[in-house]
Amino acid sequence: MFVIPDRFSYTVAHSVEEAVELLHTLEDSKVLAGGQSLIPFMKLGYASPKSLVDINRIPNLDYLDDSGESLKIGALTRISRLCDSELVAKDYPLIHDAALQIADPLVRNLGTFGGNVCHADMGDDLPAVCLAMNAEMVASGPSGQRVLAAKDFFVDRFTTLLASDELLTEVRIPKNRRGCGGAYLKLERRVGDYAIVGVAAQLEVDGDGVCRSVGIGLTSASTKPIKASEAESWLVGKSLSDEVLDKASTLAMNTSNPLSDIRGPAEYKKAMVKVLTHRALKLAYKRARGGL
């Protein structure tokens, strides 16, 4: 019944420095990126910031750059760009899978990578991707820049390590080498819905198919985005037989602690973590070995 947010001020930032300055000085401020999470929250009265700092007009925050050591994704990169990018489709199938399953084209045209991870809801798909890929999150604040590991970044539901006057500017993803492969699987009630559960898996295997490293991130499997660390450690050094994958998915299931809600009871979601982890690892493995 409430469709109009409380009063707030609105300021456009034209540079990262200006944005940080505004966030620092304005009362109860929030970053406005694509607005696809923040605006609904304000409409529903879940959030009522007094000031918005619009970062959409900051130049050069929307990029995909793999010229260096890692794939660098600008915080303002729209999700639709991840869907359309050949680079992402070819070399980072995990990100591509996830992006294609987020919401609908309208939301993807506006929603940003930075916004999706900073919102840090348990149901957002990109945090699990960052966890599986051991991403680094680059933040700018009044006292300069810092780089945070994804595994530390997601503190709680809707809460990250960022201070209220810090801006996420970039996410760095380790470059995919030969033998790397990833996949994101998402179970939805209806196309475009938030996940019942989602599983991000990223693998590196050697020539014999033995797991060198692995990352598993889970969506909607707890109150916040989580990493299936036990499953990860168990997999390293093993050949990925069906039994091994089965054991790993059971470990991932045991790590999960989903809520019972409108998307299903906790027991069902747990069982689905297992099914999806198994399938995601299998697909990631196939891709790592050069299949599709």
Binding site: I4, R190, D193, I262, P265
Partner: protein
């Protein structure tokens, strides 16, 4: 010569007598074999461009100078008494023009004010207060400043629970009974008996355009723009509530964003807007938001059904018994779940017992084939189980028990081509040519079938005028509504066909009581079958007048003249003149033809039929269900426009899929609070959820319905979708799901044999 005729008219299975005033001779009936040139062709919608470019004006688009916004404060409780209410702070907010509660509602000046604003609220979303303000955000701010204290009372929302309570007998309505033959004898004769219980959920209409009205006064004349399926129903309600004559009220619904049964009359938002506009001397707009829409405008009833069917070993059905509970909310009506059980099959012994149960939820309302959608799910699921028990092909079983006369009245059908529809559908889905079940790893694909029956024959009163203007252009005047079905386009085709003038020269005016041309509400799949013949009769009258005029002007016998493609021809094929020339030369005269829907023929049962086949794919490890294909074959008489036919079927089938797979109001069983009154949590299908739909038809000749040989298509496509999917799912996983909707978790639990733990959130 004017003639008054009394005739029987059906609406959604209920019959009543109506008078109609007809002029002229009955017209020769049209049929698919009449060689029609415009009717029967796929004409794109005449208003398509206006809709996609945004120039079509819906009620939501009406903003008038000086307009005031009305907003309701609604009860957060399903049942409570207001112990204290203080609006003074809200009244003091700058921009607020008035706040009304049960204490001062009478000053709004309309009859039913005390029924709208109550001290005891009986469902979540019930009206507590109204704010009138100069803009929408002030109105919302004011709502938050109204101080209300409630004494919560125990809500009852679950019909099964209520049936078991001695203290709640007054909440039970019925039984509504139907009986034919001798049920006991029927079951005694049976070799095989199946007994099944089913539950169906409440579904919300979620019209794209929410309910709303904009009212303003011009002197003592009231003009109301409103999103409605019946401008005349709205007008008579306003006349009664406001105490002013109907002829001083104009109700307009030029474009309309969907109704599905939920917009049949004036809502409280309509009456309150009109009363407030009178009080303030300014236009007042009340448009509901999505949450209000989903809490307070009605729904398809939740049901609990028990079906028992007996049959001989050869498959002949000997007895059908249906018992049903219908959750009618606060004070809804008991939709006829028994329709399919009574009407589908040739079965001599049938009994239907229905109970309505009143609950602390909003009153249920009509929703696309009310009752039949719910009842067909139960009946057609049970018939499928019967086929399994008999080891018969479910399609064969249906054909074996095919009714060739209406089993309720024993009258003849005006036409029935359901058998042809079944056979055509079977061919299209590969019922016999492809395997019924295919396994592919964790996935299983399978097919299922269901039949559907509905009404949609239409009838009087329905009047139209057709004006042929001085330049040869045509204006069709009616007061029917185009609720999104394509009525404008179909009526233009009919007028053009009858007149012999080009389709592009016809403009259709509708949705406005100012024409005073009585038309029925747009519902019951009747608009075309009621209005179409009236428009044809009016066009015929106009044509006659044109020929008469031409005959006198050019001194040629009228019988030797015809009109084709805008010109008047002599019998030797030469052109006499164009219609524009004829009328232009008469000092810009325009011809007005008048037409009425002819009376219904006596002794025939007019029904529409559908055969629906689903192919589904189930992921057995996750419970995810996808409908890969849905073939929907209809007997709706002659099809006037294959394009709008297709839209109706696609829309109905998608809505049926939503009902089967995703949609359902979730209510907290303890508090009676609706958990998903928004489009984020109440899941309406999106394009990518929907598989391939094949809408098609068999087109029987029907000389007994009306002068067009048409029957309705609005509701039939939704009816058999859920049971067709249910039967395909049963075929795939070997377990029958008896509760809608088939969520992944329910399918998963059924496959694994898990009994889901009861939760307080229920589909009610």
């Amino acid at each position: 010569m004017v003639k008054v005729v009394k005739t029987r008219v059906e609406f959604e299975g209920r019959f009543r007598d109506e008078y109609t005033v007809v002029e002229g001779e009955p017209l020769e009936g049209w049929s698919p074999k009449s060689g029609l040139k415009i009717v029967g062709r796929p004409h794109p919608r005449v208003d398509g461009a206006a809709k996609v470019t945004g120039s079509a004006k819906y009620t939501h688009d009406v903003y008038l100078p000086g307009m005031v916004y009305g907003k309701f404060l609604r009860s957060p409780y399903a049942h409570a008494k207001i112990t204290h209410i203080d609006a003074s702070e809200a009244e003091g907010l700058p921009g607020v023009l008035g706040v009304y509660t049960y204490k001062n509602a009478a000053t709004l000046g309309f009859g039913g004010a005390e029924k709208v604003f109550k001290q005891e609220v009986t469902y979540q979303g019930d009206v507590v207060a109204l704010v009138l303000a100069q803009d929408e955000s002030v109105a919302e701010d004011a709502l938050e400043l109204i101080r209300v204290e409630y004494e919560p009372l125990r809500p009852l929302v679950d019909p099964e629970e209520i049936m078991g309570l001695d203290s709640s007998k007054d909440r039970i309505v019925g039984p509504k009974l139907y009986e034919r033959g001798d049920l006991e004898k029927g079951f005694a004769e049976a070799d095989v008996i199946v007994e099944e219980s089913f539950k169906t959920q409440a579904a919300l209409h979620n019209c794209m355009e929410t309910h709303g009205s904009v009212a303003h006064w011009e002197g003592d004349n009231l003009v109301v723009h409103t999103s409605t399926q019946s401008v005349f129903n709205v007008r008579s309600a306003l006349s009664e509530e406001l105490g002013i004559p109907q002829s001083k009220i104009r109700v307009v619904s030029e474009f309309m964003g969907g109704g599905f049964g939920s917009k049949f009359g004036a809502g409280e938002y309509t009456v309150v807007a009109a009363a407030a506009a009178r009080l303030l001397g300014r236009p007042v707009r009340i448009v509901l938001d999505r949450v209000e829409e989903n809490l307070a405008t009605g729904n398809r009833s939740q049901t609990v059904q028990w079906v028992k069917i007996g049959a001989k070993r050869d498959g002949r059905i000997t007895a059908i018994h249906l018992k049903g509970l219908v959750n009618v909310g606060e004070d809804g009506w008991v939709a006829d779940l028994g329709g399919p059980a009574k009407m589908m099959y040739h079965c001599p012994n049938v009994k239907v017992e229905l109970y309505g149960v009143k609950t602390n939820l909003v009153s249920s309302t009509a929703f696309r084939a009310p009752g039949y959608v719910e009842g067909d799910f139960a009946l057609e699921s049970a018939v499928d189980e019967l086929a399994r028990r008999l080891n018969m092909d479910p399609l064969e079983l249906r054909l074996l028990n095919y009714a060739t006369r209406d089993p309720v009245t024993n009258s003849e059908y005006s036409s029935k081509a359901l058998r042809e529809a079944y056979l055509k559908g079977a061919e299209l889905i590969g019922w016999r040519s492809e395997p019924r079940v295919v396994r592919d790893g964790a996935k299983i694909r399978a097919k299922g079938v269901a039949g559907a029956i509905w009404w949609g024959g239409g009838g009087p009163p329905a009047y139209a005028e057709v004006k042929v203007n001085a330049d040869g252009g045509v204006t069709v005047l009616t007061a029917t509504q185009d609720i999104g079905t394509g009525t404008r386009t179909a009526l233009a085709q009919i007028a053009a066909e009858e007149l012999g003038l080009p389709f592009s020269s016809v403009r259709v005016v509708l949705g406005d009581t100012i024409t005073e041309l009585r038309s029925p509400g747009s519902g019951g799949s009747q608009t075309l079958a009621s209005m179409g013949p009236a428009v044809r009769a009016a066009a015929h009258d106009a044509k006659n007048q044109l020929l008469e005029i031409a005959s006198q002007v050019y001194d040629v016998a009228k019988e030797r003249l015809t009109i084709r493609e805008g010109s008047i021809f002599r019998s030797d094929g030469s052109v006499l003149c164009s219609v524009g020339e004829l009328l232009g030369n008469l000092g810009d005269f325009s011809v007005t033809g008048r037409g009425a829907r002819e009376p219904n023929q006596e002794g025939y049962m007019v029904n529409t039929f559908a055969a629906q086949f689903a192919e589904v794919e189930v992921d057995t490890e996750t419970g995810t269900l996808r409908v890969l294909r849905l073939v929907s074959v209809h007997d709706s008489g002659m099809v006037v426009n294959p394009l709008t036919f297709t839209s109706q079927v696609e829309g109905g089938v998608i809505m049926g899929m939503g009902y089967a797979l995703w949609e359902g109001r979730l209510v907290d069983g303890e508090s009676g609070v609706v958990i998903n009154p928004n489009l984020n949590d109440y899941l309406v299908a999106r394009c990518s959820d929907v598989g391939e739909i094949t809408p098609t038809y068999v087109e029987p000749e029907d000389p007994h319905t009306n002068s067009l040989g048409v029957k309705g298509i609005g509701e039939p496509p939704i009816i058999g979708v859920a049971p067709a999917i249910a039967n395909a799912l049963r075929e795939a996983i070997g377990v029958r799901l008896r509760e809608l909707p088939f969520t992944p978790e329910r399918v998963y639990s059924a496959i694994k044999g898990i009994n889901p733990r009861p939760t307080t959130a229920k589909y009610l």
